[in-house]
């Protein structure tokens, strides 16, 4: 048996430690599936955090999700699903050595990915403008005419809103107490009152101001945004990594790496991309829709 890589005859290179091209391909495929398994577990931790917090404080999630625009979320979902289609098509093109089609599909996939990031930028920007960030930086302020009472109106809800006249509780700046300097007696005034908490910790219910309040900002509403940014942020990083991978594939295609019908790389990246898409679908469901 030769101790160096050998050609299959039609130019396909088999690494020296593999017996044949099929073993090489099967190894790559198994490896990629295992890697994707690790990605699922990686995100899984965040899904568990979501589940735990939602189970304990459903009102926080119901309240928070009104600040997400379902339309934009749906648009992103469609974009990613289309990009999965173009990625799969790219694999097929590579298998059939249709290099032109391959390059087209890779480019379209990347455009979709950029589009996704663009929409995300718009959404993140809006959150930033309104101070709807993760817990440590949560300072909601909504730009309309009545800053004094800081009420949340219909138009503040990016999803069009079906809540009328909601009162925002003034979250004062130091509502997020530094743990180090927390008072030592059983004075919990620095801890936000819990909506549902153990006896002794619940504070006074936030007073409804003025107009009829149909929904009150629950205590610890900021937890929703922490989870939102963690989950979508990590997902966004994976989208960026995917863009990088597609750029690499395009360069390989231009270099002629796929002329021999060796399509494993395209297949593997496309698999990764499908998982990124799948994770987004769950994020859309859990964060935007329910």
């Amino acid at each position: 048996m030769a101790d160096h890589g050998h050609d299959r005859g039609d130019g396909l290179r088999v690494e020296h430690h593999f017996e044949n091209a099929d073993q090489q391909y099967q190894s790559a495929k198994l490896g990629m599936w295992i890697f994707l398994g690790t990605e699922i577990l990686f995100f899984g931790g965040l899904f568990v955090a979501y589940s735990v917090y939602r189970a304990n404080h459903p009102e926080v999630f119901v309240f928070g999700h009104h600040f997400l625009d379902k339309g934009l979320g749906a648009l992103n979902t469609v974009i990613l699903i289309c990009s999965s289609l173009t990625a799969a098509w790219a694999v097929r093109a590579a298998q059939l050595r249709q290099i032109g089609m391959l390059k087209l599909m890779l480019t379209l996939t990347m455009l979709c990915a950029f589009g996704f990031m663009g929409v995300k930028t718009v959404e993140y920007n809006s959150k930033w403008k309104h101070g709807l960030l993760w817990a440590g930086s949560y300072e909601p302020h909504l730009d309309h005419t009545d800053p004094a009472t800081d009420l949340i109106h219909n138009e503040d809800f990016e999803d069009g809103g079906d809540i009328e006249g909601v009162d925002a509780v003034e979250t004062d700046e130091s509502g997020t107490a530094d743990v180090e300097s927390a008072p030592t007696d059983t004075d919990r005034s620095a801890i936000d009152p819990a909506a549902v908490g153990p006896p002794g910790l619940a504070g006074p219910e936030p007073e409804a101001e003025g107009e009829e309040a149909l929904e009150i900002e629950p205590a610890n509403a900021q937890v929703y945004f922490s989870i939102y940014f963690l989950m979508t942020g990590l997902h966004g990083i994976h989208v960026l990594a995917g863009i990088g991978a597609f750029i690499w594939l395009l360069l390989c295609a231009r270099r002629g790496d796929f002329d021999t019908g060796h399509f494993t790389r395209v297949d593997m990246v496309a698999l990764y991309w499908h998982v990124v898409d799948l994770i987004w679908i769950y994020l859309f469901l859990l964060l935007y829709l329910i």
Binding site: H17, S27, L30, G31, F43, V52
Partner: protein, 567 residues
């Protein structure tokens, strides 16, 4: 120096003797090592890296044990002491023992046992090593800029509010986690796709069953550590508040996340050690392993059950009684497969032909020390006793008995076993025996007293302690110095063997697994011919060949594949 050992009868795979052209000298210069795709070189680099980490972690241990000589301040302040035990734990766990056996012996031996030329994904293997180097660099940077004082467990809210270099250390651990994932991934693919002709799953050496089970855990558990550490970094850097009660978070949630990885992690540590044990006991008893299938399945069982018991680290955390009960019950289940292995190893020795070579001395030490370690786990799995023993020195003693007395001892046994294969040299048996004895005695003196201290209520991670505990601590510190001496001697004779050791034959011990069918050290391409697997424990298929000073197969063609190329 190579005295020519002519290609002898019965060693079909060796077409030239000695070590003139082997993987060590094939390709010169540091870049040929740093950019190698050869699993053997990667294994050796890992060995150097990991043993250096063991030394570093050991230095921290000696420092903290020295501080504990007296009940008050001895040689350092409380803050420094807190950093010492944190760094000892973090370095030993993340840099040494988790990569430990798989990255070093696993990398080197796995493809050879499969008669293969390399692992399935050699570039990923190299990436794994570079990630180790990167993660280790972050850890070293963290140590230099002020180190960490949170304990290796980084419990919140302390870890999110302390002023020490937590972010760099946790990022280091995060990167090291990926090194571990890639190693595990590689091994799973290799074992699935690259077994030779004749090697069905149940004809695989048990070392590979152990490595495989470990790889399953590495791949499934480590990502959860990854996300946990990422959340910790996000909490410190951005204030996401997920573990901060003042922001609506839950500090105990961190513990669940952390232990969901860290409990399976301890089986990442012990399964490879048990894997080595099967090889050592069989070879040095001159007998087929007893209960092959039971040992194989017990490795898988341990891997799967390990995911179900993390809550036993949290019996006093305030979680519900029902949760406690479930975790306690499941914890006992994971004890059973380990016990089964121990009994099977003992049965292997029955009516054997036992040689007390250095690897076997370590295997016997393992049986003694792991028995204590495992049995003391019963006290901790049981709810009412654990309430008393949790967070005391009893726990410290327990995990040192299993991690050190178990994993490290088996690792040492494996190093001594495969040393001739890896480096082509024999070490001094006399010095090895002395070192093994010192380590055994030193270890017990260091750690047994800690059980008694702990059950008397001595809490762990204590800089100052009550006077009544002084004798225990002093005995422990004395033991640690004896341990250190044993290791220094070991470093001495092993390094000496590299330059002056007797050249090793292909099969010095008479083992039947495939790595012994090639030269010591192997050629860079591993095997000249395609290999076929027989029964990996059929020791009768070998006989001692005095002219070689080693063992040969009675029928060399039995391990050659039936395809072309046989001379």
């Amino acid at each position: 120096m190579a005295e020519e050992i002519s290609a002898p009868v019965g060693v079909a795979n060796v077409d030239h003797a000695g070590s003139d052209d082997n993987y060590l000298n094939h390709g010169k210069g540091i870049l040929s090592w740093l950019f190698t795709l050869d699993h053997k070189r990667i294994g050796v680099m890992y060995l150097v890296a990991i043993l250096s980490s063991f030394f570093l972690g050991g230095v921290f241990a000696m420092l903290l044990r020295s501080e504990l000589w007296t009940a008050g301040q001895t040689i350092m302040t409380a803050d420094t002491y807190n950093k010492m035990f944190t760094l000892h734990g973090a370095v030993m766990i993340f840099l040494f023992i988790i990569p430990g056996i798989p990255a070093t012996l696993g990398n080197f031996v796995l493809p050879l046992m499969l008669g293969a030329k390399d692992v399935a994904l050699p570039r990923l293997n190299l990436a794994s090593f570079w990630l180790w180097l990167t993660g280790a660099s972050f850890a070293v940077v963290s140590i230099i800029v002020g180190a960490v004082d949170t304990g290796w467990t980084f419990y919140t809210p302390y870890s999110t509010t302390t002023g020490t270099a937590v972010i760099s250390m946790t990022l280091g651990a995060f990167i090291l986690g990926f090194s571990s994932i890639f190693t595990g991934l590689n091994f799973i693919v290799t074992i699935h796709k690259m077994r030779p002709e004749g090697m069905t799953w149940f004809r695989m050496p048990l070392f590979l069953w152990g490595i495989y089970s470990t790889a399953i855990i590495q791949v499934l558990a480590t990502p959860v550590l990854g996300i946990t550490l990422l959340l910790l970094v996000a909490e410190r850097a951005l204030g996401v508040g997920i573990f901060d009660p003042a922001l609506g978070g839950d500090p105990v949630l961190y513990q669940h996340f952390f232990w969901f990885y860290s409990h399976p992690a301890v089986y990442i540590m012990i399964l490879p050690a048990m894997a080595i044990m099967s090889e050592l006991i069989s070879t040095f008893s001159g007998k087929h392993i007893f209960g092959y299938r039971f040992i194989a399945w017990s490795s898988i069982a341990i891997a799967l059950l390990s995911f179900l018991v993390w809550g036993h680290h949290m019996f006093t955390s305030g979680q519900s009684g029902l949760t406690n009960m479930i975790f306690s019950a499941l914890t006992f289940s994971v004890a059973i497969p380990s016990a089964v292995k121990v009994f099977n190893w003992l049965a292997t020795m029955y009516k054997g032909s036992i040689r007390l070579a250095a690897p076997m001395l370590y295997a016997l030490s393992f049986l003694f020390l792991f028995a204590i370690g495992g049995l003391t786990g019963l006290f901790l799995g049981s709810l009412s006793t654990d309430i008393h023993l949790h967070d005391t020195y009893f726990v410290v003693a327990h995990f040192h008995y299993v991690m050190f007395g178990g994993t490290v001892i088996a690792f040492l046994g494996g190093i001594h076993y495969w040393w001739p294969k890896i480096f082509g040299r024999m070490y001094s048996e006399r010095w090895a025996q002395l070192s093994a004895l010192l380590i055994f005695v030193g270890f017990n003196l260091t750690f047994f007293t800690q059980f008694v201290m702990g059950s008397h209520g001595m809490p762990r991670r204590y800089y100052n302690y009550l006077e009544q505990f002084t004798p225990y601590h002093q005995a422990s510190t004395v033991g640690s110095f004896i341990l250190a001496l044993g290791f220094l001697i070991m470093a001495g004779y092993l390094l000496h063997s590299l330059v002056r050791g007797e050249k090793a034959p292909a099969n010095p011990w008479g083992a039947a697994t495939l790595e012994w069918e090639t030269t010591s050290p192997p050629a860079y391409y591993n095997f000249k011919h395609d290999m076929r697997a027989g029964d990996p424990y059929d020791l009768d298929a070998l006989r001692f060949e005095p002219s070689l000073g080693g063992y040969v197969r009675r029928d060399p063609s039995s391990v050659l594949a039936t395809t072309e190329g046989v001379e």
